[in-house]
Structure formats: structure tokens, C-alpha cells
């Protein structure tokens, strides 16, 4: 007489008796786009509410409609090659050169610090020290050294964006595990081979994370540079609009700037997917 007791319900009746039903959290049952639309509508609604009922002066905060009108106006100006296109072009150039410079310098220093004992021991402490400084404070120096032209903005943008790339590269070079190192040793690989064929590819996800953080910094650097060092870029347009209390214009200029920033980020993200094709999509890989 060996009857095994199991946890499984023995017949249909028991199943019907089940009282404990798994509850699904409400937010899990809502599609993402609906949740996002909800936030957007709430935001615009609140905005509309506080402006149209006179809680806030229109100089401080224009209504959503005014802002939208100006966004369209600026968009039209840009599309018809109006006077704002040239500043946009200048800022984009600053961002591009600054970013390229940051990648070049950041990667080189990252390899120096991540690969050589000298770099790690002697150079890294200085990099950390400089990194903790408020880099924006260097803007007047760059202007003094490089003038009011695009160069000083490129320098500040690159300066800000370089450090995350250094850190990302150095961390990436340390990402290879002991087995991989040992394997390359047993294969008689030279230091250069180990670096190029193993450590760098292994570290690419971290390197890209650094580049993505740098992409955000490079925008901030270029605009700050324009605020503090004059020039003819988009930052200057914002400054002028703000001084004229043209708040809708400031808002729409910021919007277009953030579109550039977003585009930059998307380009890096896309490149990462193509280059680091083996990397699994994780939440952390999007925003480091």
C-alpha cells in the first residue's frame, strides 16, 4: 500500500476551489505607449493650467501653444535656410569636432591607463584629480588660449567628454576574465595580440558606455562654451533670446538642441549594436 501524496490537485473540483489568484499589478497591464502618453498629457495639461489661469507670468513661462508656435517658426526658419541655420551648423560642428577629439584622446588615455602599469600607477591619479574639478570653470581659460572662435568651444566640449571615455576604456580593458587571459598566454600571444584580439573586443561594451556618457557631455560643453565665450552658435541664440525675455524662443531652441543630442546618442547606440553585435540587450546597456 504505497500511495504517494502529491501537491497536484487530484481532480477538477479541487482546481475550482483555488482561492489564491495571482494578481497582476495595474501598471503591468498597461502598454508602454499609453503610460507615456498619460505622462505627456498630464505634463502639458498642468502647464496649460498654470499659464492660462495666470499663476505664472507669460514672461517666465509661455503657454504650450505659444511655445509650439515658436517651435514651428524655428523649424521653418531652419528648413528654409533662415538665419538660424548657420548657428545650428556651427554648434553641430563644435559638437562633432569635440566628440571626435574626446573619443581619440579618451581612448588613447584609456588604453594607457588600462593597459600599462605606469599609466595605472602614475597617470590615473592625475586624471581622477582633474575629473573631480568643475570642468566648466576652465571655459575662460580655453577662451584666453584659443580665442572666441569655434576652437575654444570644441576644446571645452572635448574636455568634458574625454573623462568618461577614459574611464570606460580603462574599465573595459580590465573586463576580460582570468581564463581568457590564461588562454591567450597558453597560445603564446604577444601583449599586442592580447590587447587587440581579446581585451579590446571584450571591453567594447564598457567603452561604448563611456562614449555614450561622453556624447551627453559634449553637447553641454559646446553650449556652455558658447554661453561663456561668445561665438555664433546656437548657444548664442539662446543667450540673446533669454536676454530679450523671449522665453518661447529659448524653449524651442533648447528643444532643437536636445534633438541634436538625441541624434548623437542614437548614432552611438546604433554603432554599438552593429559593432558589439554579440552584446545582449539589457536595461543597463542603454543608460550607464
Amino acid at each position: 500500500m504505497t500511495e504517494y501524496q502529491t501537491n497536484q490537485p487530484s481532480d477538477a473540483e479541487t482546481v475550482q476551489d483555488t482561492v489564491w489568484v495571482q494578481e497582476v499589478a495595474f501598471i503591468d497591464s498597461v502598454p508602454r505607449w499609453i503610460a507615456m502618453t498619460f505622462v505627456f498629457v498630464t505634463f502639458i495639461g498642468t502647464w496649460q493650467f498654470v499659464t492660462s489661469f495666470g499663476f505664472v507670468s507669460p514672461i517666465i513661462l509661455p503657454t504650450p501653444m505659444e511655445t509650439l508656435k515658436d517651435v514651428l517658426f524655428v523649424g521653418q526658419n531652419l528648413l528654409t535656410a533662415g538665419y538660424m541655420l548657420e548657428p545650428l551648423w556651427i554648434t553641430m560642428k563644435e559638437v562633432f569636432y569635440g566628440f571626435a577629439l574626446a573619443i581619440l584622446i579618451g581612448f588613447s588615455f584609456g588604453v594607457l591607463v588600462g593597459e600599462t602599469a605606469f599609466g595605472e600607477k602614475a597617470v590615473m591619479p592625475y586624471l581622477v584629480a582633474i575629473d573631480t574639478m568643475p570642468k566648466v570653470a576652465f571655459a575662460p581659460l580655453f577662451v584666453a588660449w584659443l580665442g572666441f572662435g569655434i576652437e575654444s568651444k570644441v576644446a571645452l566640449a572635448a574636455f568634458i567628454a574625454t573623462f568618461p571615455i577614459v574611464v570606460g576604456t580603462a574599465a573595459g580593458l580590465h573586463a576580460a576574465d582570468e581564463n581568457a587571459r590564461m588562454l591567450f598566454k597558453t597560445m603564446g600571444a604577444s601583449r599586442m595580440q592580447t590587447l587587440i584580439k581579446m581585451k579590446l573586443p571584450t571591453g567594447l561594451p564598457q567603452i561604448f558606455t563611456g562614449i555614450k556618457i561622453g556624447a551627453v557631455g559634449v553637447m553641454a560643453g559646446a553650449i556652455t562654451g558658447e554661453f561663456l565665450g561668445g561665438g555664433k552658435g546656437f548657444g548664442e541664440l539662446i543667450r540673446v533670446a533669454a536676454s530679450q525675455l523671449n522665453t518661447p524662443r529659448v524653449f524651442s531652441l533648447i528643444l532643437y538642441l536636445s534633438l541634436i543630442g538625441l541624434a548623437l546618442y542614437v548614432i552611438v547606440q546604433w554603432t554599438q549594436r552593429k559593432v558589439v553585435f554579440w552584446q545582449q540587450e539589457t536595461v543597463g546597456s542603454h543608460n550607464a
Partner: protein, 269 residues
Amino acid sequence: MNTAVAHDYSGAPLGAPVYELTKVSKTYARNRVIALEDVSLTLRKGSFTSIIGSSGCGKSTLLKIMAGLIPPTRGRVILQHQPVTGPRRDIGMMFQQATLFPWKTAVENIVLPIEIRDGKAAARKAMDKAHELLDIVGLKGFENVYPNELSGGMAQRASICRMLITEPAVLLLDEPFSALDELSRDMMNMELQRICREQDATAFLVTHSIQEAVILSDDIIVMKPRPGRIAEIVTVDLPRPRTLDMMTTPKFGEIVDHIRGMLDKGEDM
């Protein structure tokens, strides 16, 4: 191993000595810690030797010395009449993790040792051989698959191929299947035996599993810790080829018990 002696007990009398260690010692931290003391052993052509012992008995140190990754403090290490003074192409090595590189396909991973030593052109030429090896380990059709699409067992099969591509004289196996589940592990061990016999390979296995050591080996080196040294070399005279049901024979049980007894004694010291 030719078929004429395949039914024979395949212990020591098989082949000529391939790998010889004489009085190898290793001390760390300015001679304070003795990791290995006077280890002497000989691996013969086509033999399978396992090394077993509690942690801290110097197994990994010994393996690293044999692989040419670290130098011994004293002693002679001779592989195929040449002293080992660094990593060599006639040493093949395999680790607990498959360590395949995710940016290379299975076959590209396998020819990597050739690529490192002889360049890309040689690696391309070795592709045919890599395909053959994949066929041997039962991975035909997975040549151009990336490692993250392979299961743990399949990845270890591929890493066997990578070890074999340079036709090494000795295979150093550092707990190669210990990360796999027990079923795949038994299967992989039988695979390993088959491959070693087909390639007439000389194998040296580090393991924590007494059963694994007994089912695979001709000789089992039992190590004692502090300082790491050889306690006994047990010869396993079970016939070849070994099968998994041999694990239930009295003879198998006897050897396992004997080794377990030795290891327990080692713990007390």
C-alpha cells in the same frame, strides 16, 4: 593506441614518455609558502592521468607549471625532450569555462590558436581541419554559429576542438566539465575518452571528482596539501574503453574507496 592493445589494461606500458617532471618544487612569497614539494611524474604517450586532491594541494600550481605559465622554483620539466620554458604549441589546454569569444563564430574560435601563432592566412587554411574537428565532437552544422547560441556542453565541445587544432602532444585539462550538470558531464567524459583514443592523445586532468578520475584515468595522482606533494599514484586497471556502467562494478568501487580514504587522511594532517 592501436586496436591490438585496446582490450589490454592500458596502464603505464603504453608509450614512450612524453612529459617528464623531476623533483619540481614551487615556493611562493619569498619561500614562506611551499605550494609544491618534489613532484616527479611521467606521462606516457596515449595515457590518461588525473590529479586529485583537496584545495591547496598545489594542483593548479602544478598545472600552470606544466603549461609553461609559471616557472618552477626548482626541478626539471621536460616535454618531448625539450625543457618547458614558456607556453608552447605542443601543449593544449582547457579550462572550467569554455572561454569562447562571443565576437567569433565557433569555427573562428577554434582556429584562434593558429591565428595567434601563425597569422590570419594560416588560420584560414586551418578552417578545413576545424570543420573536421567539429564533426568529431558532434558539432557538425554549428560551424558558423556564435557562442551565445551554444549550450554549455556544446561550448565545451568547441573548446575541445580549439585545444586540438594545434595537434598538441599533451592535453592539460583543468576541471573542464565541472561547470556542467552531471548528466552532460558523464556524457562529455565519455566523449573525451573517445577523442583521446582517436587522437592518441596524452591527457592530464585536474579534477575534484573521484568518480570522474577513476572512470577516465590510467593513473591517478593523489596529492596531499601543505606542502603540496604526491601521496600516491593509483593505477586503474579497468579495461578500455571505459563505459559508464563500469561505475557500478565492485572494482570501480574499491578504487574509489581507496582514493577517498587517502584524501580523508590528507585532511587530518
